[in-house]
Symmetry: C2
Subunit: 379 residues, 2 copies
Amino acid sequence: MSAPEHERLARAALSMIVEPGDLRFLDDVAANGPIGSIERVAGRPEANPDALPDAQSRMDRADPAAELERVAALGIRFVVPGDEEWPAQLGDLAGVEAVQERGGVPIGLWVAGPLRLCDLEASVAVVGSRDSTLYGEQVASDITAGLGLAGHATVSGAAIGIDYAAHRGAIAVDAPTVAVLACGADRDYPPRHADLLRHLRDEGAVVSEVPLGGAPHRIRFLARNRIIAALTRGTVVVEAAARSGALNTLNWSQRLNRMPMGVPGPVTSVASLGVHHHLRSGGASLVTSAADVLELVGRIGEHLTEIPRGEERPRDRLSVRDQQILDAVPVYQGADPASIARVAGAGLTSVEEALASLAEAGLVERDGAGWRLTEPARA
Amino acid sequence: MSAPEHERLARAALSMIVEPGDLRFLDDVAANGPIGSIERVAGRPEANPDALPDAQSRMDRADPAAELERVAALGIRFVVPGDEEWPAQLGDLAGVEAVQERGGVPIGLWVAGPLRLCDLEASVAVVGSRDSTLYGEQVASDITAGLGLAGHATVSGAAIGIDYAAHRGAIAVDAPTVAVLACGADRDYPPRHADLLRHLRDEGAVVSEVPLGGAPHRIRFLARNRIIAALTRGTVVVEAAARSGALNTLNWSQRLNRMPMGVPGPVTSVASLGVHHHLRSGGASLVTSAADVLELVGRIGEHLTEIPRGEERPRDRLSVRDQQILDAVPVYQGADPASIARVAGAGLTSVEEALASLAEAGLVERDGAGWRLTEPARA
């Protein structure tokens, strides 16, 4: 299944003209389809008078047919609604209010890499601060490795810090991972992640709403974050200072009825400040591991975290009454049942019964006329 | 206001006979008053046949009148319902189900130290693991110091680890702090905290439901925890492994409609495992500082935490449109407005308007025929 070619062409033209997430255009595309929309931009300015001058600033240089040919030669594809590969979950963006005037279903996505976007249905976003700590990076890698082993792809933003660690954890277990960029999918941004991005283009996917060559303008990160949130079942923020863009992704996740999650850290760490704030305000669920994430994003009953219980000790199996009497048995020097009864605050008959059963459990032993703890019970 | 002396005597007798939190007796005391209850124990076994043998094991040695005289000489008082000093909030224990057969309003409290229990209405419990980390101890001290400066007393259990740090933080700012023990209020338990307990007996208070000399039986810690939770507006658990007794205090706090709170830590720290579990299950609110605690336990509007925002930068005051155009202005080599318009995806007229206002804000400057960022804007 594939979108009609003239629709793809119209979407490519719009993608080259329109800023990512600019709702003035995206709403029009959603309402009138890409062909109606491009005609409106090109030939009927009166239909969208505010937006038109913006579109015209790029229109004269946009040659979508030539561009689609050029990118295909580079092994890059332009995936649009109607294509089998189109990730249907992005449709949820249609109903969600804009943040900083950015929102809406993307016109199309430029994709480099073999991973098919329609296979991201069970994916999880793991994102976080560029100013990360070793702690945060380790936890991010552990979580994405665990998610990968459980069959969940990792989506992140290829940024320095937590994003890098998130991709790396997935790669370490040969699990699929995808970067969504705020610049063209052909650009190595940040430059120091050229190797990571090359690997993702070879083995996973690098995705962008921005046409090839587009620069990573700051405002484009806001639009990019909505795609990370919308592609995935939930967003885990590992570390985020008060202003971190990762919190923007978390907000999108929440507003899209995905699962917003946050990993806590030391309260003394600035890198965890923003995460703790979101956990406090109920804007995110606390997760500590891949198992916790799986419990929240898995299908019902698919993954269940064990409640941490610690090691069970022999005492734990005793009744409260037996514990009460055991507490009153001396450690070394035996005491008679009447004395134990007084210390325990228990009747003599019940103390004698309890001592017999505690002896059977190997917790108390006779010491002359009295009773004391056994060696294992002393520990 | 003071309870009648024959009631105090009856309660002292019951306190010396009955195990802390043993509901078979405490319910009877609540229903029939201490005098009816002691008569029942002493003279009418048929009324409470199960409990009687337990009571009788200690009754022959209990001389409450002599004991009250003896403890008074030691500067210790036995505070009971009806006394002005009795902390009314302990009454909330009446309606709450038992845990491990322990619960109920204490028969009375043995108190050493000048602090009056009725002054703990706004107090906060800060408790945690004995196997604490330096991180946890630092955070516990910081929180209780902050609470103390804001006028809230700290209640804890004088245990090694977090409890010790909690008392110490309050003491550091000369704030009131109280230890509730699982042994007699005259005992130095744990032994290495003899100095702390001496300080508390001199300046704060050491409190116990157990008569003087009573040993810290393990089962008594469960009963003790309900008093810590009930005395306070909320319980903060700073570190707790999966089995920590501090979680028991947290549960009591929750069931008493107090505010259960937990401080997160590194997810890699075993010492935070139990806290994280409770935060995950919704059994506690996440707090990171005294300010967070105050927001939850303060009277409405009394304390409000500021939302962490990070530093505001000049960009933050710009409209989305101006940010979009600023993103397209080159850093060093000036570009003409038409080129900036194309890169920004914005109409020429609006770009020219935006450049004028960005210049006024000191973010862009002319460079020959074109425009570029100013030095502050490059940062």
